[in-house]
Structure formats: structure tokens, C-alpha cells
Symmetry: C2
Subunit: 227 residues, 2 copies
């Protein structure tokens, strides 16, 4: 399958590397390809300097947001939350229309220091903003509750005995993302929370996740839903 | 031990009944004792009509907020979130000073319909508002992530294999609440999230909990933190 991954940070790198390893054709999308390829410092959230990462992953294509969007049959938004809508605008509504867009971003606002707050919450969410801005994209919010390593390899914590969520208005898109989560990444427990407004739940959960990270000293902590 | 429980709804009823059953002297506090004792309808969140409940629990005292606050060595705030600060004002800062105040309330706003939003979130929390309003109370936010039945009997879901949190500025108060959670109610997994600002995490988690309730059809769903 052809997959577009928006974002060159640690989340984009981790998704692109794993999906390529599975045999899919991945293009990473960025604002300015030349600038990204010249980057010799890691991004603010960690990961490798992109030039170094790209050299080590020469089987992953790198293009503009628009090129990655046109390339992908399935798309992942792994840009930072504040840059997500601008990045998707550069990708172009026409390139997003009809496609599954897995939104793994969080609306983090670091302007007040650590831990970050959310720039949208409670009565709206970043996933809803994206769906409203691109009504023809089939947006599914998922994976934003765990760190990049767990996204693609949930077995790294508690043998994979924990939960990931999907939220979206398009049931067939959620079914496809659920299949990707299970078959590509090995997720055992996927809960469908409902329509795109239900993404408020996982996005607001990040406030708890951040405190668990600070309190337990590991970003690999996550939650299993039990009933 | 003498315990004051503010609130006559399902949460106050459940806490008061369980703590009394354990052999402690409980007084439930309410705004207007006569009105509460005359109530023949259940509250909006369920539970029994208070007159009926009180008749069946004649070993539980009922008094004003101030009387319950003066009575208790440990206090539980089980009022609805919007009424919490007014209730605690009626309890009186002098009656709260120096005491452990377990805040189990959530800042739910039902004015926009179901699911409710939060009237404070993200850069503040109800627990912080309470601590700021009553600086001499030793506020510990806890138990607000589960329904009333699980608060006092966590074994009802997954054999008790799930997590509850404590947040507060006073370490000895958190230690005492942790002891209460374990010894009185049987909680196995208690995580100290940090100071009172960390209560934003569990309060904002309620947005996810509400979606799990709607999606899974049970309010007994909860989360286990895994690392």
C-alpha cells in the first residue's frame, strides 16, 4: 500500500520506518524538503536529526506535504498539533479527499512551559477542527494516547495488554484503521469511542498521560480499559 | 474515626454507607437538613431518594454542611462540582482548616446536554479552585475517575486490577488518603500524581470516561495504568 506520513519528527520517523519495514511504500511529507534534509539537530520532541534519519532510511521517500498526500492511499498526520491545519492546507484538500487520514496529533501548547496545556479542549478537539477544515477527508483520531514507540509496537509495555481508541464519523474508515492497528502494529485492544467528537476524550486524557510521565518517570506508561 | 461526607446524592450515599459499615461515625452534610429529609425523588445522578436512604441508614447522622465539617476528622467532598465551593463555604473555612478533605467531585457542566463538558479544565481544575478557596484545608483529589460503586468496592471491576490516583500539595494528607483507599475500600493500585495541579489529569480524563460509558454501555469501565 502507498502511505503518506506528514511530519518529520519522532512520531513521523517512527511510523514511516515501521510501515516501510512492513513492505509498504511510504513518503514522508514536510513543508520544505531541502530544509528538512539539511536538518542536523533533533526536533523538540526527540528522535533523530532528520538528515541522519533519512540517510539511514533511504527506502522512505521524502516529499512536500502535497506530494506525500498525493502519494498516499492512507495518510497519517504526525505533525505537531499547532502545525497540523497549516500542514494539511499545504497538503491540499483535493489530495486528502476520500482518503483515510489517521490523526495521531495532540493539541499541545508549550507556551506556558511544562507540562503543556491544550490549545483546544473540552467543547472541541483538534481532530474535529481537522475534520471540519477538510470535510472530504475520512479523519480517524487514534494512537495519540501513547508515545511513538508504543504506537507501532504496543508489546513494549505490559505485553501489549493495553488499549488504543478510534474516533471518527466514517465507520468504514474506523474499520480500516482498526485493521491497520491490529495487522500492522499488533494492537490487541482497540475501542471505537464513537464519532469525531469523541476524540475529545483521548485528547484530554493527554493531561493525565503527561502527569503519569512526570510521576512515574516513563513515557511508556499507558492505560488498559477494564470492564 | 469521625467522618464528614458533604453531599446527599449517590456518591455521598455510597461513601457514607460504606464508611459507616466499616465502623466509623459518619455525618452526611447538606444545605438544608429538613429539605433533604423530605426528598422523595432520587437526585439527577441516581441513587435513592434521600428520605428513603436516610431511613434505611439510621446509623448515619445527617446535619448541615457546617455540622458535618465540625464532626469529621476526615472530610469527603461528594457534592456536585458546580455546588462544591458554595457547599464548602457553608461548611466554613474554620471547620475545614487542618483537615484532610478528599475531593471526589468533578467539574461537570450539563448545560450543553450529554455528554457534559467541564466548567474548568486544562490550565486549572476544580481541586485547585477548592484548595485556593480554602488554603488551610489539606485537599486531596481522588476517586473522581470511577463511579460511586467502584469508589468503595473496586473489586466489582476486573477483580480490582485497576488504578486510582491521588493529587495534592500535602504529602501526609496524600499518605493518609492512600491508606484509606487501601484499608477501607480495598484499592490495590494507587498512583500519586503530584501536587494539586496534577488533579487536572484525572478531572480531564472524565471526558474519556464519559465516552467509554457511552461506547461500552457501562459506567463500571475504568482504567489500569500499565508500565
Amino acid at each position: 500500500m502507498r502511505v503518506g506520513v506528514f511530519g518529520t519528527g519522532v512520531v513521523g520517523q517512527t511510523l514511516a520506518a515501521k510501515i516501510t519495514e512492513l513492505g509498504h511504500e511510504v513518503m514522508v511529507g514536510t513543508r520544505d524538503v531541502e530544509a528538512a534534509m539539511a536538518r542536523t539537530e533533533p526536533g523538540p520532541a526527540g528522535g533523530q536529526a532528520f538528515s541522519e534519519w533519512a540517510a539511514q532510511h533511504s527506502d522512505v521517500k521524502v516529499g512536500t506535504f502535497a506530494e506525500a498526500a498525493a502519494h498516499g492511499e492512507v495518510l497519517f498526520n504526525a505533525t505537531n498539533g499547532q502545525g497540523s491545519i497549516p500542514a494539511l492546507e499545504m497538503a491540499g484538500a483535493g489530495n486528502l479527499g476520500g482518503k483515510v487520514l489517521v490523526d495521531v496529533s495532540n493539541p499541545l501548547d508549550f507556551s506556558g512551559g511544562m507540562p503543556p496545556s491544550l490549545f483546544v479542549a473540552n467543547t472541541d478537539s483538534l481532530a474535529e477542527q481537522i475534520q471540519r477544515a477538510f470535510p472530504d477527508a475520512r479523519v480517524v483520531n487514534s494512537l495519540n494516547t501513547v508515545n511513538a514507540n508504543l504506537m507501532v509496537d504496543p508489546g513494549q509495555t505490559a505485553g501489549g495488554e493495553h488499549t488504543v481508541f478510534v474516533s471518527g464519523d466514517d465507520q468504514s474508515a474506523k474499520d480500516e484503521v482498526t485493521r491497520i492497528l491490529r495487522d500492522w502494529f499488533g494492537w490487541k485492544h482497540v475501542i471505537d469511542l464513537g464519532d469525531i467528537t469523541s476524540a475529545r476524550g483521548p485528547e484530554m486524557y493527554i493531561a493525565l498521560w503527561l502527569r503519569l510521565w512526570l510521576g512515574l518517570g516513563t513515557s511508556m506508561a499507558t492505560i488498559k480499559v477494564v470492564t
